[in-house]
């Protein structure tokens, strides 16, 4: 029991320490800034420009102005909030996770930490918890920003303000958390595996943005590949978001990365399993391997 308390205390200390250094790290703010810019650009800016010009862009082709406006109002915030996550949101979080773990090896900070008698498991758990706090913060800021923009648009277009239901906000928050957390922790695992940031970021991005899409393409020809793609992180994340947003099967122009390959429940379970596996594998690797 006392060992458990000591471990919990050590993890809490490490979490605080990691939060101090993540807060001061420009890479964190640049990554989050990039996410917010992309999120606003693809969630509101292009739609708004298309709406005001009356000329549908690539993201709004085949939609009426009324549909475009409806997509930018407060009750549509959960949908807009989620739509960028399977694609660039996940990729950016994976980059962040890989940087957090990988730079510890590149800069020798893991070595410095473990040389001073700090135990490995609490140190990794602290780092993972701090990364989770960054993910939660990202979700809160993104949702707040989306809501603020939608309120401004609703006011400027003299629309009634209808807030999203608590259920849809909760569902979006849960799905968004699972997806971003999974990618961040998979990035952390990659950074630990590669013991450096560069290779892990490169490999992670190629996997998330290229390989999974190629495999899904091949899966349409080979049954066993299709079965395999159903359990991949990208497919699961896309399907989870797709289940929450609700895909229109008649529309041929869906948001990139948002899928309906597997059911929402199955996708949520698969994503949660990836979260747990990434943490367990990272701890096991850091505990077992030599620190150069």
């Amino acid at each position: 029991m006392s060992t458990l308390i000591a471990s919990a205390t050590a993890t809490t200390r490490s979490t605080r320490a990691e939060l101090v250094r993540l807060r001061a790290w420009p890479a964190v703010w640049i990554t989050l800034g990039a996410w917010l810019v992309l999120s606003v650009m693809f969630g509101y800016l292009f739609t708004y420009l298309s709406y005001t010009s009356g000329d549908p862009g690539f993201a709004d082709e085949g939609t009426t102005q009324a549909e475009q406006l409806a997509r930018m109002l407060p009750d549509a915030v959960p949908e807009v909030f989620l739509q960028g996550m399977p694609m660039f949101g996940g990729a950016l979080m994976m980059v962040l996770g890989a940087l957090v773990a990988g730079n510890g090896y590149g800069w020798g900070t893991w070595k410095t930490l473990f040389s001073q008698g700090v135990r490995r498991t609490p140190a990794v758990l602290g780092s993972v918890t701090a990364l989770t706090a960054v993910v939660v913060g990202t979700l809160v800021v993104t949702f707040g920003l989306d809501l603020g923009i939608s309120l401004v648009i609703a006011s400027s277009e003299s629309q009634d303000i209808v807030m999203p239901s608590l259920g849809s906000v909760g569902g979006a928050a849960g799905a968004g958390f699972l997806v971003l957390e999974m990618w961040a922790l998979l990035g952390f695992l990659l950074g630990t595996l590669a013991r450096g940031p560069a290779l892990s970021v490169g490999l992670g991005l190629v996997w998330a943005l290229v390989v999974e899409n190629l495999l899904r393409g091949v899966g349409q020809l080979l049954g066993w590949v299709e079965s395999l793609t159903e359990v991949l992180p990208g497919t699961s994340a896309g399907s989870l978001i797709g289940a929450v947003i609700g895909l229109d099967p008649t529309s041929g122009d869906q948001t990139p990365g948002v899928l309906d390959t597997v059911s929402g429940d199955r996708a949520a379970i698969t994503v949660a399993v990836y979260v747990v596996l990434a943490v367990v594998a990272s701890i096991a690797l850091v505990r077992r391997r030599d620190v150069a």
């Binding site: 320490a17 101090v20 700090v118 620190v291």
Partner: protein
């Protein structure tokens, strides 16, 4: 430096410690003991296996066989170490880096200020680590090792990158730590530095510990060097005083007597009493450097 009176209990030890990388034996059955309160010098040329041994002692690297144990104190704060160059977050200041470390270990910000003062970095504590000179980075690494006042401090080449004044400060710091009762395991290939501040040394070469002994013991004690004429009579008196095996004749005719320095007056009296002219009498010591090169060259010739 005299051996501390408290130096008996081991605070760190290895037994047949071995590390093999592929077909290269980096550390080969090293058995060494660091005792409480002493400054232990771990000597060896670059690539001898010093850092790998220290890494295994700290648990950073798993031994292939054998064991390494640190028995100093208990808990996270019993050891502080600087291993093969300092590793810090480049975007943070020196002070912020130490504060991050302090939070990991549950230490206060006051402790950060104390160690920054100790290594004379308080004035530059708010500069970013990436802007530090090599010497400043090294001092920050030492500051990290001192945090929490650990019982055992392991310093791997702490004077790397320091200017002469910085090296002198570092030597004074190590001596001061030992005076305060802390144990220091100092790895270095700077032999004069080790000779000056260490109580005992372990000499490692090609992964093997060649010798572990007190500095004075390793250097073979002090001898007396005499130049006197006539030489045959001087040799006879010297052999009477130091024994047949205790006298060595050097190339320039000087005699080297294996006797402690405080016997110099006796020797002078005996020589003068025998009607011998004494031109020079000095205490001659072998330096640690000479002993070290002797040991490592013997090792080479055996191979």
């Amino acid at each position: 430096m005299s051996t501390p009176t408290t130096a008996n209990t081991p605070v760190a030890s290895t037994e047949n410690l071995t590390k093999v990388y592929g077909d290269r034996v980096a550390v080969d059955k090293v058995t060494m003991t660091v005792r409480r309160g002493e400054v232990y010098g771990f000597l060896g040329p670059n690539g001898a296996g010093k850092t790998t041994t220290l890494r295994m002692l700290l648990g950073l690297v798993r031994p292939t066989s054998g064991s390494a144990r640190i028995t100093a104190g208990r808990g996270d704060g019993s050891v502080g170490a600087l291993i093969e160059g300092p590793g810090f977050h480049p975007y943070l200041s020196g002070r912020a880096n130490l504060r991050v470390l302090a939070r990991h270990r549950g230490l206060s910000d006051a402790e950060v200020e104390r160690v920054l003062e100790r290594v004379d970095l308080a004035g530059r504590g708010d500069d970013r680590f990436k802007g530090y000179s090599l010497g400043m980075k090294q001092r920050l690494g030492v500051a990290a090792a001192l945090m929490g006042d650990p019982e055992l401090i392991i310093l791997d080449e702490p004077t790397n990158g320091l200017d002469p004044a910085g090296m002198a400060d570092m030597r004074a710091l190590v001596v001061d730590l030992a005076r305060g009762g802390q144990t220091v395991l100092l790895s270095s290939h700077m032999l004069a530095e080790v000779q000056e501040i260490c109580h005992r040394v372990g000499v490692i070469h090609d992964g093997r510990l060649l010798r572990e002994a007190g500095v004075a013991e390793l250097r073979g004690g002090v001898s007396l060097r005499i130049r006197a004429t006539p030489e045959p009579e001087a040799l006879a008196v010297a052999m009477r005083l130091a024994g047949d095996d205790g006298v060595r004749r050097e190339a320039d005719g000087a005699l080297l007597l294996t006797l402690p320095a405080d016997r110099a007056p006796d020797v002078t009296r005996a020589l003068v009493g025998a009607g011998i002219d004494v031109h020079e009498i000095t205490a001659a010591e072998r330096s640690l450097e000479e002993v070290f090169f002797e040991m490592t060259s013997q090792k080479e010739s055996v191979r």
